[in-house]
């Protein structure tokens, strides 16, 4: 009996939900973007979802922006401008403005941002050709009010076509802090706006992945990738070159490529990852063996021609891989991640940190060897 008052007293501790807030008082930020501001250093753009917003869609997406000197200042301004309290707990996409990324100015800003409790560093990250507002608005469609499918599509695009990189901000942070590889982020832009050539002087519309998008419900496309040297963006790779880098980093699953044959005709091939690439690095020389399967979508070729054709495609891929590597070395970007293999050769962290990998990388000589197997067996995949 003496325990009952004690239990009653302790039960007061079980209230749990003190200073509770109704869920309607919150508005959830889905996308966060940061780019160079005009009057202040940063322009922060957020895409906010308001549950029960309009009668038609039940969900209203609103894009709001604020210029600020820091993330917390931007949050204060955005909260003051918006009737609900903004929560970042459901944010799943981070857009970094290309202008900011080229200066490497986003790292200090975002380091602070991720000190904020409800913003997680596992956000899918894209580099965006400014204005970010335009890109976010281009993504809004009645077909997918929550933007969930669009974000999933970035991952699917990477897995299904290999024309873009799909990494989270934590991997980008790892690239900066760990220095074993350089980041390669998906690249997005408003269709047809401010086109730029890629590092190898290839296609001038990289963010539509090597084809020209004419009309769409969405005004924004994602393809190709932004390449970094540490925290500085140093160039763009189009969809095809992105695919080739992903083959080396073992992030490539499948994708299609068009090859130009010696007689000038074009040939389409569907490529599939067969197994993990073998990479060996010793005395400033690396060998990379890639194993791919190819479905050649040209029934006109006889089987006798196919062996010669496969050899031709292997040579073509090896030549292109060498060209991509040279372009990456010219901008000091180890997007292929050779540093991961160099780090294995050290017995202490201090030795690895003192080795000056980037200087070695500039002189690294790489031999690519591509093994293409004819025909793709879906069972094996």
């Amino acid at each position: 009996m003496r325990r009952i008052p004690l239990i009653l007293l302790l039960s007061t501790l079980l209230l749990g939900c003190m200073q509770s807030k109704n869920i309607d008082e919150y508005a959830y930020v889905l996308n966060v973007g940061v780019e160079r501001g005009t009057t202040m250093p940063y322009l922060v753009t957020v895409l906010v979802s308001v549950p029960g917003g309009t009668e038609d869609t039940k969900v209203e997406n609103v894009v709001i922006t604020a210029e600020a000197r820091s993330f917390s200042e931007a949050c204060e301004t955005l909260n003051a401008a918006y009737p609900s309290r903004l929560s970042f707990a459901r944010a799943s996409l981070l857009a970094i403005g290309e202008d900011l990324a080229k200066d490497g100015a986003q790292t200090a800003f975002l380091d602070f941002a991720f000190g904020k409790p409800d913003l997680w560093p596992n956000l899918r990250t894209v580099v965006v050709k400014p204005p970010i507002r335009g890109v976010f608005e281009g993504w809004i469609t009645e077909a997918d009010p929550s933007l969930r499918k669009i974000k999933t599509a970035v991952g699917d695009l990477s897995n299904e076509s290999g024309t873009t990189a799909d990494i989270g901000y934590s991997t980008y942070l790892e690239a900066i802090s760990d220095k074993r590889f350089d980041a390669m982020l998906a690249y997005a832009g408003v269709n047809g706006y401010g086109l730029e050539p890629d590092l190898l002087g290839g296609e001038a519309y990289p963010h539509v992945g090597g084809s020209l998008l004419i009309e769409s419900a969405l005004k924004t496309s994602t393809a190709g990738s932004a390449v970094f040297d540490g925290d500085h963006m140093v160039g763009i790779l189009d969809g095809r070159h992105t695919m080739e880098v992903l083959m080396v980093t073992d992030a490539f699953r499948k994708g299609g490529m068009r090859f130009t044959l010696p007689d000038g005709s074009a040939l389409d091939a569907a490529l599939y990852r067969m197994r993990t690439p073998k990479i060996r690095l010793k005395n400033g020389t690396a060998t990379v063996e890639l194993f791919l399967e190819a479905d050649i979508l040209e029934p006109a070729f006889a089987s006798a021609d196919r062996d010669a054709l496969i050899t031709f495609l292997q040579d073509q891929l090896e030549t292109e891989l060498n060209a991509v590597l040279s372009a990456l070395q010219s901008v000091n970007s180890d997007a292929m991640g050779f540093g991961r293999f160099r780090a294995k050769q050290f017995r202490t962290a201090a030795e690895w940190e003192a080795c000056g990998w980037k200087a070695e990388y500039q002189k690294l000589s790489v031999t690519f060897s591509v093994t293409l197997m004819r025909g793709h067996d879906p069972e094996r995949a």
């Binding site: 074993r180 780090a343 201090a350």
Partner: protein, 363 residues
Amino acid sequence: MNLRIGAFGRQETASMVLIAAFFSGCFGMDSHALYADGNASYLVQIIATVQALLLFEGTVWVLRLRGGNDLSALIGRSRLKRLLAIPLILALVLAAMQPLESFLLTMTQYVFTDAKQVAVCLYLLPCLFLLTALGAETLMRTARILLPILLLSIVAAVLSGIRQYHLYRIHPIPFGEPVRIFTQAGSAQIRAAAPLLALLCVGEGTQDRMAMRSGGRIGAIAGGLIAAAALFALSMTFPYTQLIDMPAPFYRMLVEVRAENPTLRLDRAVLFLWLSGAILSSAFYLYAASVLFAKSFRVRDIRPVALCMSGIAVTLILVLYYDSKTTAAILERLYRDAWVLISVPFPLILLNPKRRRPCAVSH
């Protein structure tokens, strides 16, 4: 005497030691020291577990030679000898603080983001006190019930992040400095030795010395290996350069999976399950410290001692957050060098000569 030790079997003993070994191994680490020279946390955990087992087996062997069921039987009753219990009590209190501090940081940083540490910490006090005051039997039987679901949650957590694992992140393995790995294992000794030390304090409740030995051995080996496996998974998820400054790395590992992955929604459920395990482990240490204190200083009731121990642990955690830098620095230093608290008194206790009773003289 109302020490509430009760009686428990080998399964209960092994379950409690396993849970305590896992939570101390994974949630009580000093990241700055552990990842300063690269990533060998999983090797450190295995070596520290072996060291702790050697200490445990040695103590059980001495107990068998001298007769007795727990550590207080070896310490003796004289005033000077009783002082040997004080560093061990302090070591157990520190071991109780480590996982709780880690979870408090996780909760205030990622769950109750608007709450102050003191508010969350004060919720822990009644839980700790109640569990500690209820005694060893309650703790052990709760551990037996909690163990399957805890193991399931650990396996789920480790498997959910499997797509994020990359072996290159474990390099460079600091084999270049093996002495350094053994030094780190020495520093980590308190984390690995605390579950077995606590078991030695409550050994009276086991069926016999053999049950205590086998329960402790199974729990420590299984807990140490699971902790080492979890640390290895963590090493493949984050490089040492990030782990060195990362608050709550295991929780980060849980949420590292992408938003599309439904397991993301398990993170908070798993966190609170793990919090239950951490509170249980801490209560086990605090109870063991209370029993050791009560037996050494002849306090007849465990409850006031348990309340004091729980209060000290919670207060010290709060001091780490709120007090001046000097106090916090002292406590952090104490964490780092806590192995001294076990390594110095233990040989003295084991070599402590037993006072011979005068033989009855028949005329």
